[in-house]
Amino acid sequence: MSRGAIRFWYVVHKWSSLIPTLFLLMLCITGLPLIFHDEIDAALGEDYDSTLAGAPSAEGGLPLDTMLAKALAERPGEVPLFMAFSQDSPLLTVTTGPSPDAPGDRMTLLFFDRATGDSLGPAPSGGVMETILQLHTDMLLGLPGMLFLGVMGISFVIALISGTVLYAPFMRKLGFATLRLEKSKRVARLDQHNMLGIVTLAWALVIGLTGAINAFADPLTDNWRDTQVAQMTQAYEGAAPLDPADYGSLDAAMASARETLPGRNPQFIGFPGGGWSSAHHYAIFFQGDRPLTQYLLTPALVDARTAAVTDVARMPAINQALMMSKPLHFGDYAGLPLKIVWALLTLATIWVLWTGVLLWFRRRPGAIDRRIAEIRSGGTTRAPA
């Protein structure tokens, strides 16, 4: 590789990694506890999924109408907004509010056990894991923060690619996984940076790409949902909104939706008049039954009065691909051993980032030519870099 080419890739690598470094370190550090969120939630007693015994609420239990009546009895005068199901336990949540279009801060989230019908009280608020997740997703800044972190993810991918290009000239005279820890500190850092970077490359590329995809896919999915629901309910456009008193049986609606979409479990129901449905429908959002398909939402709009299925929407292929890549980012789809591997790889990435910062920081002015010489020689040049 020519000096000019190395210089180009060195500059790309330097800036594409320096700019997102702080954010990537934050993402790694907040990501570590998130890998183990199931275990941590269970230890903190915030995880009903692991403490309630019985069939998953998405599959069966007491009638939905019974559960809804219990929820409304706890919140007299209010209307139902959402009902959400668990795929792992009898936990069932009902969201109520003063009116069908109530804003988020007027909503109440109630927890129930669908196997016994017991009320578990209001949802535990927030919790430390929730805050960590928010930091990791958008730094508590909402959509702009999310998109910003998405851009940092893309920069990370560019850093990985340029780093791989530079790996070749550096390693010309070195064997794979050479670690010269007893030479200078600089050579030790270079070798560790290169070895850890190249060994974790495939995993880091997947994490960076799926992280960026997640940041950009959620707004896309919201957009798809809004336009799709509007299209599906055009026939009802002129009709007056359905009065909550006239809502028909949820169980009948669920039965006809399941008949249309066999083999799938519901994730949640959007009640009429809310942002996730029309003014006349129960919008039942079904999900796939495997890790690969669990993020593929298929909404069935069921007439809330007659329980007849009005329409079923399938996600466009592009949204499907985006949503299917989601679990690849989390590493929580194949049991505890995979999570431990995920955590080890995250620690290795932190060390790559840190040694990278030190390699950039501990330098003298006008060092770029020495850097290029260093990359070309595999770090064996005697000149102090």
């Binding site: 790996y167 070749a168 390693m171 010309r172 005279k173 070195l174 064997g175 794979f176 996984a177 050479t178 670690l179 010269r180 820890l181 007893e182 030479k183 200078s184 500190k185 600089r186 050579v187 070895m195 850890l196 190249i198 060994v199 974790t200 490359l201 495939a202 995993w203 997947v206 495997r290 890790p291 690969l292 679990p327 690849l328 789809y333 194949a334 049991g335 051993p337 995979l338 591997v341 080890l344 790889l345 290795a348 501990r362 595999g378 064996t380 005697r382 102090p384 870099a385």
Partner: protein, 81 residues
């Protein structure tokens, strides 16, 4: 496996990294597409990366390298960055 006299080809340089990358990717997808045996496959294949890292550090810290052993304790000061 430290400094070599003859430069290695690009293919040789990327042989091990590509092998580990392919194992990792198969592991990632295996865990996603099924349970049970596929999960175990995911652990083993993706685990190849941390195992390689552990091996590299173990080999680097191993005292049985005659050329380096006299100067093991500290790098000479002129060599420092």
């Amino acid at each position: 496996m430290s400094a070599r006299r003859h430069p290695r080809s690009t293919r040789a340089i990327f042989a091990w990294p590509m092998f580990i990358a392919v194992l990792s990717l198969i592991g990632l997808v295996a865990g996603l597409t099924g349970d049970g045996a596929r999960d175990v496959l995911a652990w083993l294949l993706l685990g190849s990366a941390p195992v390689t890292i552990a091996f590299a550090y173990w080999r680097a810290g191993r005292p049985a390298r005659p050329i380096n052993s006299p100067a093991r304790t500290k790098a000479p000061s002129h060599d420092r960055a």
